[in-house]
């Protein structure tokens, strides 16, 4: 059985690192009009998670409190 790697993963990691340094050096405002945008669904999911997770965190700290 022969294993064939179809991608050069090391190069992908190097490219991601190069892009990271490039993006990090650019001002945030430059991307305000970027065409690449996450979907509304993704944004909703993340924002909902933030609210739900906050409640979970609060509940875990106050689990001994009995609320009527």
């Amino acid at each position: 059985m022969k294993k064939t790697f179809t991608q050069e993963f090391y190069l992908l990691e190097q490219e991601a690192k190069r892009l990271f340094n490039l993006f990090d050096s650019l001002p945030d405002e430059l991307f305000d009009r970027s065409r690449a945008q996450p979907s509304t669904m993704s944004l909703c999911k993340v924002k909902s998670f933030a609210k739900a997770y906050r409640s979970i965190v609060l509940l875990s700290h106050e689990r001994d409190v009995i609320l009527n």
Binding site: F20, D24, D28, A36, P38, F49, A50, Y53, R54
Partner: protein
């Protein structure tokens, strides 16, 4: 709301950590384009980029709730670093799931009986062989049977077997060796064939 738009990232982070959940909405909207553009440039697939984007912000939210954010740079850089690590994780995960190529073969190497699920008949034979071997193990001298049972039926290491039986590892290994020799002899005597 207008007041929030002019607040710095650090102020919004502090607000969120203090319990004002709407502060994260502003942070997400402020930095979504940069973070998403970076992820998309790296992975070049919209759906995958969406997944990594969501996962990145979920990590951000969890870290902030645990008070793990340290003000030593830009908020966007911190989020990008989290996204970068997830991208690298994705690459490495893919590397481990290496591709098997059939290109140089005239036949499908995976279309082999060895890779097929065992038939009911195979399972019956397998169970029968195991039961016959179990019966032979019972015929071994006590000290050898003990080692075989602890090693193969209970999954203990030889070190653990040695400790349990109060002997040295070499003695445990020696008993296992004699147990296997005896088992082979017993199998030949009783015509038990093992072909698993």
């Amino acid at each position: 709301m207008k007041k929030q738009q002019v607040l710095s990232d650090d102020c919004l982070v502090k607000d969120f950590m203090a319990g004002k959940t709407s502060a994260i909405d502003v942070l997400i909207d402020r930095h979504k384009s940069k973070i998403f553009s970076y992820i998309l440039m790296c992975v070049k697939q919209q759906e995958l980029a969406e997944d990594i984007f969501q996962e990145s912000f979920i990590k951000v939210i969890k870290s902030l709730n645990r008070g793990k954010y340290i003000e030593n740079g830009k908020f966007s850089s911190w989020v990008m670093r989290i996204a970068h690590n997830l991208i690298i994780d994705h690459y490495r995960k893919n590397r481990n799931q290496s591709v098997i190529s059939n290109d140089k073969y005239d036949f499908d190497i995976l279309n082999n009986i060895k890779f097929a699920e065992k038939s009911v008949e195979d399972k019956i034979v397998y169970d029968q062989v195991l039961s016959e071997i179990g019966a032979l193990v019972k015929l071994l001298p006590d000290n050898q049977r003990e080692v075989v049972e602890m090693r193969h039926y209970m999954g203990l290491s030889f070190k653990e077997v040695a400790e349990e039986t109060n002997v040295s590892i070499n003695t445990a290994l020696g008993r296992m060796r004699y147990a296997l020799i005896n088992l082979r002899r017993l199998m030949e005597e009783r015509n038990v064939l093992v072909n698993i």
